[in-house]
C-alpha cells in the first residue's frame, strides 16, 4: 500500500476462459489483459507453431532482456553513494557478543526472534528445535523433529507457536504452551508438503498462514488450520533458498532468492512474479527486505551482498571487498536500515554501511560458518547462528 498502488483487478473473470479466478496481468501484443494462471501456463506450453523454433524463441527472449535493461537505465540518474555524500559517517561501533547460547549438539542451521524481543527459536542438524529466552539464556522448550537438517524455523507473530521444516519436505507448526514439561512433539501439525527439502519458512502477519520456499524451485502459501495449499509461486529454475515477506505496508508481496542467481518479487494475491533481478554471479543464499519495504538486500556465494531498489527496478549497491572472499550466507538490516549485518562462510560477521557501501566493522568469535543473522524486532541486538553449535547475541 505504498504511494504507487493502483487498483489492480486481482480476482475476476479471466479474459480467456471467463472463469472467476485469481488473475495475473500480462501483456500480449502490447495490450494489457488479465489471464488466470492456468491460461498463462497453457499459452506458454502450446506446441511450436509453423516457423517457430527454440532458437528463435531464445533470440526473442534475449532481445527483450536487452530492451528491459535499456528501459531500466533510462530513469537511472544518480547513484546511492552520491546521494549519501552529505550524510555523516557511522561512528565507531562497540559491538561484542553479549550472550553465547550453548545447547545444540550439532550445527545450528536457522533461528528466528519472537515479537517479545527476547525469546528466540533455533533449529539444528541434530533434529532439535529449542526455544530460548536469550536474555536469561534459559531453554524454555525443546522439541524433537522427525528428521535431521531442520533448515527452516520461524516464530509466530503472536508468540504462541513455532514452525519448522527441512529435509523431511514438510513444514510443521508446533503450538507452544505455558507448561514447560509438555511434550510439544505430540501436538505437531504438518502444514506444508513439498516435493523436496524446505529451505525457509515464515508466518505471515498472523498465526494462520505459513509461507515456505523449497528445493523443488517453488514457494507456497499454506493455510495452517486445514493444511491446504492456498497459492503456489513458480518461476525459479533451481532450488529456492530463501524468502522474506514485505513489511506491513507492502505485505501483499514477498521476495525470494535461489540457486538460479535470481531474486524475484511476487504478488501474493495472484501468484505472479512481478519483478526479477539477475545480477549475482552465484547462488543467492538469503534475501531480506529493507525496513520500509521499497528495497531489499541479498547475500550470495559470490562473496557479495547486493542492494536492490524495487521502485527504480535496479541494483543500487554492491557490498564487496577484496579481502572478503567467502560466500555470504545471511543478511539483515538494523532498525533504521543504515547498517547491514552479513554472516559469512569464513566464520565472521561483517557490518556494512548501506548508504556508503563501506564496511564498518568485522566481528569474530564463531568457530564455524555463520548460517543465519537476525536483528531482534526492536533492533536492540542481533543474533548469529553458526555451524559451531552455538548462537551468539551481539549488541
Amino acid at each position: 500500500m505504498c504511494d504507487q498502488t493502483f487498483v489492480a483487478i486481482t480476482f475476476g473473470p479471466c479474459d480467456n476462459c471467463t472463469k472467476t479466478k485469481p488473475l495475473m496481468n500480462i501483456y500480449l501484443n502490447n495490450e494489457a489483459i488479465n489471464y488466470c494462471s492456468l491460461c498463462v501456463e497453457l499459452m506458454a506450453c502450446q506446441g511450436l507453431e509453423k516457423g517457430e523454433t527454440v532458437a528463435k524463441l531464445k533470440k526473442e527472449t534475449e532481445a527483450l532482456k536487452v530492451k528491459l535493461e535499456v528501459e531500466r537505465a533510462k530513469l537511472h540518474d544518480t547513484e546511492l553513494h552520491k546521494l549519501a555524500e552529505k550524510v555523516e559517517a557511522v561512528g565507531q561501533l562497540n559491538i561484542k557478543a553479549r550472550r553465547v547460547l550453548k545447547g545444540h549438539a550439532n550445527k545450528v542451521l536457522c533461528m528466528d526472534w519472537c515479537t517479545d524481543k527476547r525469546r528466540l527459536v533455533s533449529s539444528s542438524q541434530d533434529g532439535k528445535l529449542i526455544v530460548w529466552d536469550a536474555f536469561t539464556t534459559n531453554k524454555e522448550h525443546a522439541v524433537s523433529m522427525p528428521s535431521t537438517w531442520v533448515m527452516a524455523c520461524a516464530y509466530s507473530p503472536s508468540g504462541c507457536a513455532v514452525a519448522a521444516g527441512g529435509l523431511d519436505n514438510k513444514c510443521s507448526v508446533y503450538p507452544l504452551s505455558l507448561d514447560k514439561n509438555e511434550n510439544l512433539a505430540a501436538k505437531r501439525k504438518p502444514v506444508a508438503m513439498h516435493t523436496n527439502y524446505v529451505s525457509h519458512c515464515t508466518f505471515t502477519n498472523s498465526d494462520l498462514q505459513v509461507l515456505t520456499s523449497s528445493g523443488d524451485g517453488t514457494c507456497a502459501l499454506w493455510d495452517v488450520e486445514s493444511a491446504q495449499l492456498l497459492m503456489s509461486f513458480h518461476s525459479h529454475t533451481a532450488d529456492v533458498l530463501s524468502l522474506d515477506m514485505g513489511p506491513s505496508e507492502t505485505s501483499n508481496t514477498f521476495v525470494s532468492g535461489g540457486c538460479d542467481k535470481k531474486a524475484k518479487l511476487w504478488d501474493m494475491r495472484s501468484g505472479q512474479n512481478v519483478q526479477s533481478f539477475e545480477t549475482h554471479e552465484s547462488d543467492i543464499n538469503c534475501v531480506k527486505f529493507y525496513p520500509n519495504g521499497d528495497a531489499f538486500a541479498t547475500a550470495s556465494d559470490d562473496a557479495s551482498c547486493r542492494f536492490y531498489d524495487l521502485r527504480a527496478d535496479r541494483e543500487v549497491a554492491v557490498f564487496t571487498k577484496d579481502s572478503v572472499m567467502f560466500g555470504a550466507s545471511s543478511v539483515d538490516f538494523s532498525m533504521s536500515g543504515r547498517l547491514l549485518f552479513a554472516g559469512y562462510n569464513d566464520y565472521t560477521v561483517n557490518i556494512w554501511d548501506v548508504l556508503k557501501a563501506e564496511r564498518v566493522s568485522i566481528l569474530f568469535g564463531h568457530e564455524n560458518r555463520v548460517s543465519r543473522v537476525r536483528v531482534s524486532p526492536d533492533g536492540s541486538a542481533f543474533c548469529s547462528a553458526s555451524w559451531d553449535n552455538t548462537l551468539r547475541v551481539w549488541a
Partner: protein, 477 residues
C-alpha cells in the same frame, strides 16, 4: 614450487565453490618466488623438506597484501588451511593457522579442493589400504574403523582396491626419500581435509544443491514464459533513481535516532546493562508509552498501526470524531486477508452486513466504482475480495485522518504525558550484579491472551446495538 594456474570456477564445478576463484588467485600470488611468502628448507626428523614457511610469515604477508589487521589475517589464514591450500607439518590434524613459528607448506594443485572429481570413497579406501600396507598399525582409531567399514561395504571392489594400493605403494618406493616424504605429507593433508576426523569441523561441508542450474536443457516453454514475464516487466512503471534513493536516505534520517545501534536507547539497552526495564516500559499493553514511541507514531500511518498502543490511541481519537468505521473496516479486512481459509465465507458476510450493505450500521464511505467491484466480488468470497476497498480506506486515513490526528488534542495530550525514562548509567560492577538477577519476563502467550480478551471486549462494545431485541422488551402492550 611455483604454480601459475588459475582455472575458471563457474557454477559448472561443485556447488558453493565460486568463492574459491579469488582464494586460488591469492594462493598463486603467495607462492611467487620473489614477492610471495618467504620459504626455506627445514629439517624434520632426518629429512630436509623444501619450501617450508612459518605461520607468522604467512600472517604477516596476508596482512600486508590485503591491508588487514591481525585478526582478519588470522581468520583468512585459518580458512586457507581449513580448505586445504596450506597444510601444517607438525600438528597435522589441527587445521588452524597459528601466529607462531609452526611450519606450513603449500598444497600441490592436484590436491586442491576444487577439482572436477570429488574425493570418492574408493580413493579413500585405497589410501587407507596403502597406509595399512606400509606399517601395520599406523592407522588411527577412527581411520581403522572406517577401513573396516569399507571392507564390509566395498567388498566386491576389494580386489581392485588392494591392487591399486599395492601398485601405488610400489611406485612410491621408487621415488627419492625427500620426494616420498613430501608426497606422503601432501596426501595425508588432503585426506584430513576431505575426510575429517570425527568431531572436527570441516570447511568443505555444505548442503548440495538439487538442480545444477547450468546443466538443464531449456525447452521452448521456458523461453515463452520468460517472454511473457519480460513483456510485463517492461510495461511496469518505474521511478527515477533520485526519487527512490532519496526516499531511502530520508527513511534512514528519520529513524536514525531510534536505532539502538546508532543512538543510545532510554533507559538502557537490556543486552548491555542486563536490565530489562526497556522492554517492560515498551510492552504493547502498557498504559503510558515512552516519548520515543509516541514520536515513532508520527512517522507514518503504518508505524501507528503496527504498535497496538498506537492503534488504541488512534481509535480513541476516531471515537471522538465519530468516524471509527474506516478503522474498523480496515481491521476487519486485515483479519480476513490473514485469516484461516475456513472462515472466509462467514467473515465476508459479516463484513458486508456491517460495513457495505446499503443502510448498514457502520457504513463506510467509498466511491461508487470500488463499492461496485467489492460487492460484485463478494459473490465469490476469497481472501483478497476487499483489497480494493481496503486500499481506498487506508489511503483516505493516511492522507486525511492521520494528519488531523497528529494535530489533535488527543495526540498532543499523549505527547505531554509520555514518559522520558532517565538513562541508567551502570558501571561494570552494577552490570554484573544485574546479570545475576535477570528477570524472566512475561511469557508471550500470556500477553497474547491478555490482548485477545481486550480485543474481544472492545468488539462486543463496538457492536451496533440490536434495536429489535430491546424493542421487544419495551413494547409490552
Amino acid at each position: 614450487m611455483t604454480i601459475r594456474s588459475n582455472r575458471d570456477h563457474a557454477q559448472h564445478y561443485r556447488p558453493r565453490m565460486t568463492c574459491l576463484k579469488k582464494v586460488e588467485a591469492l594462493v598463486v600470488e603467495m607462492q611467487d618466488a620473489k614477492s610471495g611468502v618467504p620459504a626455506s628448507e627445514q629439517k624434520l626428523t632426518i629429512t630436509a623438506i623444501p619450501h617450508v614457511m612459518t605461520g607468522q610469515d604467512i600472517l604477516a604477508w596476508i596482512a600486508n597484501k590485503m591491508k588487514m589487521d591481525a585478526n582478519e589475517a588470522q581468520a583468512l589464514g585459518t580458512m586457507l588451511v581449513a580448505y586445504g591450500y596450506i597444510y601444517p607439518l607438525q600438528n597435522h590434524k589441527k587445521l588452524v593457522l597459528q601466529p607462531d613459528g609452526s611450519f606450513f607448506r603449500f598444497q600441490t594443485p592436484y590436491f586442491w579442493p576444487v577439482q572436477k572429481y570429488q574425493a570418492e570413497d574408493i580413493d579413500y579406501a585405497i589410501y587407507l589400504a596403502k597406509r595399512n600396507m606400509r606399517k601395520k598399525g599406523s592407522l588411527e582409531v577412527y581411520e581403522q574403523e572406517r577401513y573396516n567399514e569399507f571392507h564390509k561395504w566395498l567388498n566386491p571392489k576389494w580386489d581392485f582396491i588392494v591392487l591399486q594400493a599395492t601398485e601405488q605403494y610400489r611406485a612410491n618406493k621408487q621415488r627419492q626419500k625427500a620426494d616420498r616424504v613430501v608426497f606422503d605429507c601432501q596426501e595425508r593433508a588432503y585426506w584430513i581435509v576431505q575426510r575429517p576426523p570425527p568431531r572436527a569441523h570441516s570447511a568443505l561441508d555444505c548442503m548440495n544443491r538439487l538442480v545444477d542450474p547450468n546443466d538443464e536443457k531449456r525447452t521452448y516453454d521456458h523461453y515463452r514464459r520468460n517472454t511473457i514475464y519480460l513483456m510485463q516487466a517492461m510495461a511496469r512503471s518505474r521511478v527515477k533513481s533520485t526519487v527512490s534513493l532519496g526516499a531511502l536516505v530520508k527513511y534512514i534520517n528519520t529513524y536514525k535516532n531510534h536505532d539502538p545501534f546508532l543512538a543510545p536507547c532510554a533507559p538502557s539497552n537490556p543486552w548491555l546493562s542486563e536490565d530489562d526495564t526497556y522492554w517492560e516500559i515498551n510492552l504493547p499493553t502498557v498504559e503510558v508509552p515512552t516519548k520515543m514511541r509516541v514520536e515513532r507514531w508520527s512517522f507514518s500511518l503504518m508505524d501507528l498501526f503496527n504498535d497496538p498502543r498506537g492503534r488504541k490511541d488512534f481509535k480513541l481519537f476516531l471515537k471522538k470524531e465519530f468516524s471509527g468505521e474506516n478503522m474498523a473496516f480496515w481491521e476487519a479486512a486485515e483479519d480476513m486477508v490473514w485469516g484461516s481459509a475456513a472462515s472466509m465465507a462467514d467473515q465476508s458476510q459479516t463484513i458486508f452486513k456491517t460495513f457495505l450493505a446499503p443502510g448498514a450500521p457502520r457504513w463506510i464511505n467509498i466511491d461508487g466504482r470500488t463499492m461496485g467491484l467489492t460487492v460484485k466480488g463478494l459473490d465469490h468470497p476469497h481472501r483478497y475480495v476487499l483489497d480494493a476497498a481496503q486500499t481506498h480506506v487506508f489511503l483516505l486515513m493516511k492522507k486525511d485522518t492521520f494528519f488531523r490526528y497528529l494535530k489533535s488534542p488527543v495526540y498532543k495530550d499523549m505527547q505531554k504525558k509520555a514518559i522520558v525514562p532517565a538513562l541508567h548509567n551502570y558501571n561494570d560492577a552494577q552490570v554484573e550484579a544485574n546479570a545475576k538477577n535477570r528477570r524472566p519476563g512475561t511469557d508471550p502467550i500470556l500477553i497474547w491472551q491478555q490482548m485477545d480478551t481486550e480485543r474481544k471486549a472492545a468488539d462486543l462494545a463496538g457492536k451496533p446495538v440490536d434495536i429489535s431485541s430491546i424493542k421487544n422488551k419495551i413494547d409490552r402492550k
